[in-house]
Amino acid sequence: MQTIWDGIVQAIQLLLQGNPEMLQITLLSLGVSGLATAVSLLFGLPLGTWLALGRFPGRQFVLSLVNTGMALPPVVVGLWVSIFLWRSGPLGDLRLIYTPTAIVIAQVVIAAPVVTGLTVSALQQLDPRLRLQLLGLGASRWQMTAALWREARLPLLAALMAGFGSVISEVGASMMVGGNIRHHTRVLTTAIVLETNKGNFGLAIALGLLLLLIAYLVNMFLTWVQQKNRPQRGQ
């Protein structure tokens, strides 16, 4: 009990003092996971839309792959991204292993299926007659898609939050492909593992609180965007 209490007290002291290294780790986490989420959106939104609206052979199969991908274990992603990026691997010449870019790549692999899968379900929840109506009104394919995205913006933002949540909190892949190198690839989750291993529970708890705080702030912002122009009933 004493350890827990000491840890929390020390954590709060550390957070109040602030220190450049904690700040740098936090910014790196935010940057890497933010970029990974953005890239996932770039892949996931079109792919999810195509899967939700398209009719083509093998669609169900691809959909089942995406849904499986939503539960992809980060360590497995870490393993495969490492195998590809190691100097002996097929992409070894890019010299990306143990760089922040490597973490972004791994996190995109983790977040993209989440964004894709949730985009599919967001768009499929819309009334199918809406599509027909839009097309009937003479909308082009692109205009229709844009209108559907607009209509489904609340669940689409939820997809984005879920994607961000899955990567900001993952540790396995970041540790394996990033290497947890101080000042280079150390992010909040890997720093927490390290400080716990060193027995610095106070610092570990402080970093954990920071992680929660970031997750909260980012989601609060997205929720604000989401709820700001919520479609009004009866409009």
């Binding site: 947890n180 190198i181 101080r182 720093a191 390290l194 291993n197 060193k198 027995g199």
Partner: protein
């Protein structure tokens, strides 16, 4: 579902198993021991050889937690482990002085080596002392990967920089914050230098593009002690189990096995048994 005959067979089997199990050594009252040790002993595979023998002989079940020496000692301080097998003599002495351990025995040593890429950009190959090698690495600004995890190896490394009187700061000095195996992989991938225990390096040598560049300096010795956590501080620890494990580690048969470990595979032992020596023999205070 089962005929009478089958039922009888099952009973017979169960009875036989019961007799067999009961025929073994009487199981200790509290059979679970938590051993906090360093990643180096775990990664080398030595514990995978020794612990099954100990469990077979005594009926104890050892739960091995492989962490840095820093956390292993912390686990001992907080009563989260029963027995420690660690290699940071200076910290261990403080640990004993503060009354966290009740018994401490010299078990074995291996040694640290400085490994690096075969091309050896800093030209440290064959340097007479570790200090000289580290000086060259710093001057050349060649990448050096430090464990940076407060482990025994990390502490030893920091001490070496200090003894060498070389500042270890700059873009070339990087901390992995991970275990020895992961750190060697990173050094190998980055074409960097690192300090490692010989055992971990030899055990996975084929996986690394790294060569032994500096070895043999007396400051590179890596000494392991086994420590029984003090039951006066933490009455709930498994004292009998911890003592049994400590005695097992310094037992003549075990010591012989430690000396043989790895010889068949690497042509040289990974650890040198020391139970019959004193700290002073190994140049420790």
């Amino acid at each position: 579902m089962f005929g009478n005959k089958n039922l009888f067979k099952i009973f017979a089997l169960v009875a036989l198993l019961a007799v067999l199990l009961a025929g073994c050594k009487p199981a200790p009252k509290n059979p679970n021991i938590i051993l906090a040790t360093t990643t180096s002993t775990q990664d080398s595979g030595l514990l995978d050889v020794l612990i099954p023998i100990f469990e077979e002989d005594t009926g104890y079940v050892v739960q091995t937690v492989a962490v840095g020496t820093g956390e292993a000692l912390k686990m001992g301080e907080q009563g989260n482990a029963d027995v420690l097998l660690v290699h940071a003599p200076a910290s261990e002495v403080t640990f004993m002085d503060n009354g966290f351990g009740s018994e401490r025995y010299l078990v074995m040593h291996n040694d640290f080596i400085i490994v690096g890429p075969p091309a050896d950009p800093a030209g440290i190959r064959g340097a007479a002392t570790a200090a000289e090698a580290l000086g060259k690495i710093a001057t050349a600004g060649a990448i050096f990967i430090s464990r940076g995890d407060d482990s025994g190896t990390h502490k030893a490394e920091l001490k070496l920089w200090k003894t060498a009187g070389v500042a270890h700061e700059g873009e070339w000095y990087q901390e992995s914050g991970q275990g020895m195996g992961a750190t060697l992989t990173i050094a190998s991938e980055k074409g960097a230098y690192t300090l490692t225990d010989r055992a971990t390096y030899l055990a996975n040598k084929a996986n690394y593009a790294l060569e032994i560049l500096v070895e043999g300096d007396t400051v590179l010795l890596n000494v392991y002690h086994v420590i029984v956590v003090n039951p006066e501080k933490w009455p709930e620890i498994n004292l009998a189990g911890a003592q049994a494990f400590a005695q097992f580690m310094i037992d003549a048969d075990t010591q012989a096995k430690i000396g043989e470990f790895g010889v068949d595979k690497y042509g040289q032992p990974l650890f040198y048994p020391d139970a019959d020596k004193t700290d002073a023999d190994l140049g420790l205070p």
